[in-house]
Subunit: 323 residues, 4 copies
């Protein structure tokens, strides 16, 4: 039995940089109905109303948009130790930090492409104020009355100068299972969708067609109902927030998607579907090839513009290094 398959339990939170902190917070709270847990210094900690922990999104002021870090929760204290040992051996480890608001000590590392990540065990649960307590015991607070409220953090998509080594790193060192991938030519991977749970992905790795390293493609929040993406689209159009693509259905992951840009410039995906879940313990990864690409990318609905494959944060041109 490969322990690694069960040592990472879930995506815990994501930190994003934004050059327009105030406007970004307004977008996430007023339109997407996220909740601010706390503001501290240059950061604002937020969560969706069905997220159980202290925060799932940390917005930090910065000169450019982009990824701060991605945090994974281990399955147990022992699982955390096992993974840290493995990460240290990988040469990608950076060391322990004391923690942050909402969680205890965490071990930091980077993907081969340079995306900062961390793994942790101790988390603080969200504790609602009295007037936000709900009788629905599986919901950590009342459903918000503001905007079209997202329900929970779903996944991140990271752009990579090369998909394969990053995929192998996530699989071998952290136990992510490959669920779907796009391959062109002689086994060149353009995309990989990986998960530690029945979700098709908690992380997607996507070829950065500018050739840059370590950029961020999108963070996804989950709604679960296609109608809510239409409601949100209506609000976005009326309020001048740019929809890049969608609503529409991807072949890959069967997601009913919509992509928008938050005011800081980061791409945000809204997931309006229940998609499909993978319970088969012997799942054979799905491979989409050139001849399937059209259906892979758009099963039906709004096409993706070219910028979808080129724009990430921070914004860089072809060949222009991120750092």
């Amino acid at each position: 039995m490969k322990m690694s398959l069960y040592d990472v339990a879930q995506l815990a939170h994501v930190e994003l940089y934004t050059p327009k902190l105030k406007e970004s917070v307004e977008f996430f709270t007023k339109i997407m109905g996220l909740q601010v847990t706390v503001e501290a210094g240059e950061s604002v900690y937020l969560r969706a109303y069905e997220d159980f922990y202290h925060h799932t999104l940390k917005l930090t002021a910065g000169p450019e948009p982009g990824l701060g870090h991605v945090a994974w929760r281990a399955s147990s204290p022992e699982a955390l130790e096992r993974r840290v040992k493995e990460l240290e051996e990988s040469g990608q480890g950076k060391g322990w930090i004391d923690g942050d608001l909402g969680h205890g000590r965490a071990y930091q590392f980077t993907t081969p492409d340079g995306h900062l990540q961390e793994i942790l065990w101790e988390v603080e649960y969200y504790n609602p104020p009295e007037d936000q307590k709900t009788l629905l015991k599986s919901r950590p607070q009342k459903r918000p009355m503001q905007g079209v409220p997202a329900r929970r953090l779903d996944h991140v998509n990271l752009m990579c100068s090369e998909v394969t080594p990053n995929k192998e790193f996530m699989a071998e060192r952290l136990g992510f299972k490959l669920r779907e991938r796009i391959v062109v030519g002689e086994e060149r991977e353009l995309g990989a969708w990986m998960s530690v749970s029945p979700l098709v992905h908690e992380v997607a790795l996507m070829q950065d067609q500018t050739g840059n390293k370590g950029r961020f493609h999108h963070i996804a929040f989950w709604y679960g109902y296609p109608q809510h993406l239409m409601d949100l689209a209506d609000l976005l159009v009326e309020n001048g927030i740019k929809i890049e693509a969608g609503p529409g259905k991807h072949g890959v992951s069967q997601a009913y998607f919509m992509y928008v840009f938050e005011p800081g410039g980061n791409r945000v995906e809204l997931f309006g579907d229940s998609g499909y879940l993978i319970f088969d313990p012997d799942w054979k990864p799905i491979t989409w090839r050139e001849e399937d690409l059209q259906e892979a990318i758009i099963w039906y609905g709004s096409p993706l513009p070219e910028e979808y494959f080129l724009y990430g944060t921070p914004d860089r041109k072809v060949g222009e290094p991120v750092v």
Copy 2:
């Protein structure tokens, strides 16, 4: 690390007896859009269009409705061996069978209440005929054009003379995690919802208020969209199929539910929601008590009639033994 937590991967299939085999098959195929894989002797093997295996529902002719057996798939061949050893030690083991259409050898056992179950590793995947092949690679066949097609098997609900010992058996011998429960008085459990995945339950155990042992409450198929339950309700009412309750939303499991009786007399739940998923590896089971029961059972929508708590299959009165 407790191995048991990861040794059972998923609900593989359910066998139900029906005194009206032909009518039951018609209900599941014409109205719910299930697909017949094969008919063999007194049994018909079916699956929903997003079920990957040979079958997820086996309907077998019998004098009375009720449960044939519940089958679980192990996470690996080794996990299967570990569970069989544990089941043998439990005293609930019955021994190996050679298998059935669609799967290899399986180890049979019963719950303390007497529900026949089995655990297996080798499965046969569904192989669609040429005209049912789809370009959507995560879908094992085309979406049916018949009825309002269910997408996949979701869970089973078993009535128990006592919930607690059956819950403990599923937890200790098979690694099911307790997700939610209903408790009255001094810790008397009336219901337990358990899973091996982020689903809130693959199995629910419910107090049989007639005092009988080993009866079957319902099998649930998953739609994922509330609209589809409304579409189905429309068809059911027009075609004389009895809706027992719903559509409506449970507090427990947050399911958008509907309960109907298939012509053989077994209760079938249709799941029209994406519900919520549990990714927290340290989940504290939710306990609903007397004072919460109203919201636990019906968060909003159609109430449950008294028969919901009394009727199971086979149909028995208070104190009347099943066998």
Copy 3:
């Protein structure tokens, strides 16, 4: 050609009394997303975001909940004159008023049961502030970000000591067409649904089973999407607003309904469906009889409690006069 068939164009607005003006306004604005146009003295004027006129709901402080008045817009100034002449002849006319905020002079009258109504031509259109202007030209303002916003006023339901004379009055004097009705015994009408447009009803008349005269049953706002009633139900349950029944589908009018009580005590229906529309100029009214009543009242979903047939505003017991 009967002129009367086209002289009344639409339901223009409804005035309700409430003993809890502040709480009623909060319910309609915070949860149902209605917009306050103006507050004046003891009244607050509101509209839904796709209502085109100055207001469609006027809430007025009063000692008891109940109907203030129902206002109809005529099809033209000439149509107004024709209807006033007819109303004067009917003996139900009360005379002209100068108008109110949002509309010009109006002719007042009562139904035989005593419900105060008026008919008018001149209306003031809603003029949004700059930040509420939308690019969607058929929408008078931006879609609100508050609560689950209703789209427009739909209909009123009036309780009558006897349905038939009130139905005849609405048909003969105002040109309402009978669309559906419930009849028991020897042609005793328990309910009549009438309209001047393809909607099944702008007004329903319902037997007051307490025997009282002139009471109010409900006002209905339209959402158009079943999902929104579920979203709203969620908010209502969490915030202690009582849902009387629903969501569910009526046979009569094919409406996907939900009934709630606003804090002042008046019943409000939310319409979550597109229902069906009647374009046939030679429509034969549908008659539901004893044997059809179950399907007429609930096609599927949540049943109606007994109080639905007894409770109206102001709240009165059997035989207790309204005034």
Copy 4:
């Protein structure tokens, strides 16, 4: 009072030519769930399950796809006579025909652009076979179990060499009200949406950018639920039926649309929304200009390809005459 405003009641049926009669019938019945009332000679008569009359779509074998005729039902026998007199005076009248299966005598005429139309009073109602009778009295038959069944005929869109004279003809001779329009430059109309009911349009007139006369753009069937367009899109993609655009939301008419080509080559729109309804008797037509065109055409979702503005049936190139 202008009589003409109320003399036409509704769109009664549409005849389309198809070079692939069998395949067209299969598309409309198997995938869209339409019902065949009768086959007669080279024609097949169909209706959606909530259409009340004998048929709403007549498919006739022909060498090329395109419009056979559009039929309107008058509001009364007298209204029919008034309109015929008007049409005769217009010089566009062609004379009476004896009728067809499903309706009595009809007066034929053409638009200035040459689209064949007719107006009639006597219609035959659909009479379901015993096993198709439903308890839902406002539904002329049971909801079908085949495909994703459309509910009713909604509107037609006619391409015109010049919009304005055709718009004026429909307004002046038949009483259609202009609801929305697109205008470019110095009052050149590119599109006009007109209705005789609160629907935004039963007929749309659209500039034929090839300069041809009398071509057909699309027929629209109504679903009423956005989810059903997604369900249908899924079936279409899997079964090789081309989706031209959608699902998405138009600014004009607020329709949640999807455009597909039936196998004969005619464009079919599926309407998945309840849109908005116009009850204001004094409605000021909405004008969309160059600067609003983007939102007018696509409020959100899938864009329209260029062919949308060029392709009609029969298929013609720029400057190539239809006949």
